[in-house]
Symmetry: C2
């Protein structure tokens, strides 16, 4: 089923978490591989290193940017297949890739950024509904409307994101728990966990394959399809120990989505470290040449004291 | 100390969380008030309502955008004072406001977006160090280098953000806890909590005041300056009940900043709701006309099973 000549591949977003695996797999499997990289990424210590590793694999680095239409078209004209691995916040910016593919007119296959659950089979709640699933679905519909040949690769759960913590994100554990674990819902829903390298391997296999043209390529290997309860049992067997299980009911999950902060907890916590641990709001004297204190300067303002504020909740 | 004629005020970012309070206070206190609003905000259900409430207060709505230099200059030319209330992610974009103020040449006072701890007195850890404190500090230095008259308003902790949960963010409580509470560090650092309306009142008082020119205006009212331990005691008195206290040591705080997820927990949890509670990865049959399964299509790929993956941690 392999075509005789392997397609030339452009990866957009290649220095990102998942993109790295795709670029590596594409180059290693003998595709002439190009990575579109922003000039700014070269001076970034982490991304600069990634770019160097790409060069060592024979990848051609093209300088460009999603927002630079000319650079996009120029890059796309050199290849047969475009793979987008842009991050969550740039999903809708993929319309710019679609425009450039239309203008170039030479692309045999486009693989938009997916790397998750099938967005056409999912009924999600907010904020994932709009931020993730809605955005990916919108891109799919535009690709189809424009008549661009596509493959949607549904990679399901990336193992490196889910398995080291056994899906314990609050806080996110760096190795699986050995005493207690929280299970969402009844823990019987079947989930698919795939190693990033494997998702990349199937993706690169599929991009020249007529059997995946204008289709969704599901990465659902049977050995990787298991429920959270089965996952926990598997882990318990490995460590020879039973974990204390707490279930978070669906009702509680939905309520927690509302009450968890919109700003990432690690940002809040680093602010709170300066405020609550270090006391940086009060551990200095206001120098009169540089600062003035408001309640002294404007004694006519009847400010609400903390005491009064808290009374509304008691 | 009041000037005879009140300055005309432009608020940039007025439909945001803190901006609303500033626009309202400016208009109510008799300043001719202008709000720069993006056209897109008008069709947003929440922001559209806010804009309507501004109009009811006599605020002049100007259409424009940080990225539209001409619209910025045009807006700035109509006023004496510019207040920025842009959000965390737009802090560095305030260089665009600074350029427009330089070009306009008529601004008597600029109040950049602060609404937190004094960034020149804070030694924060990442990510707040760069994302918040570093960005605000950078803007201060540019304002000073450009010779723009300024006031930095240090509002410290916004009550509406901190007090309803008594700083319990994981998950964020919607009313103060009545059984147990986590305290960062020893709980003795003195913190300042101010109601948003009061921060706005002091800010608007200060913008025409020669005593605040090129100075920092600290909002540190004595009744609102208290330690976390004192805050908890105050709350315990109100509910006539003692809370079970857990201290998170500084070491643990610093470790947690590393392990908390970078993506907001509420986004992760809403994704996990579809995956772990609803089972959307596996609760459908792949229609052959639309999809293909990778491990069946490419049996030569030796994928890593979940079982094998977990072995590395056991």
């Amino acid at each position: 089923m392999e075509t005789t000549k392997k397609s030339k591949v452009l990866v957009i977003g290649g220095t990102g978490y998942i993109g790295k695996f795709i670029v590596q797999e594409s180059a290693k499997s003998g595709h002439q591989t190009f990575a579109l990289v922003r000039e700014a990424s070269l001076s970034d210590p982490v991304k600069g290193k990634t770019v160097k590793s790409f060069k060592d694999l024979g990848v051609t680095i093209l300088h460009g940017d999603l927002n630079d239409h000319e650079s996009l078209v120029k890059a796309i004209k050199q290849v047969d297949v475009v793979i987008s691995t842009v991050g969550r916040k740039q999903l809708l910016d993929q319309t710019k890739i679609i425009s450039a593919i239309k203008e170039s007119g030479n692309i045999k296959r486009f693989l938009p950024s997916e790397f998750g659950t099938d967005v056409d089979k999912t009924v999600a709640v907010e904020p994932a509904k709009s931020l993730v699933f809605g955005a990916k679905r919108q891109i799919r519909r535009i690709v189809e409307a424009e008549g661009i040949p596509y493959t949607y690769v549904v990679g399901n759960c990336a193992a490196g994101f889910y398995l080291p913590s056994l899906a314990q994100f609050q806080p996110r554990l760096t190795s699986p728990p050995r005493d207690k674990i929280t299970i969402l819902g009844d823990g019987n829903a079947k989930v698919v966990f795939n190693r990033e390298e494997d998702i990349a391997a199937y993706m690169i296999k599929g991009l020249d394959d007529p059997r995946t043209l204008n289709k969704t390529l599901y990465v659902n290997p049977p050995k990787n399809t298991l429920s959270m309860n089965e996952l926990v049992t598997l882990w318990e067997k490995k460590i020879g120990k039973s974990l204390e299980k707490t279930h978070m009911t669906e009702e509680q999950v939905l309520k927690n989505i509302q009450v968890y902060p919109v700003v990432p907890v690690y940002v809040i916590l680093s602010i709170n470290h300066t405020v609550f641990v270090k006391g940086h709001q009060t551990n200095f004297t206001i120098e009169p040449c540089l600062g003035v204190e408001a309640s002294k300067l404007y004694p006519d303002v009847k400010y609400t004291s903390v005491d009064e504020y808290l009374s509304q909740f008691a």
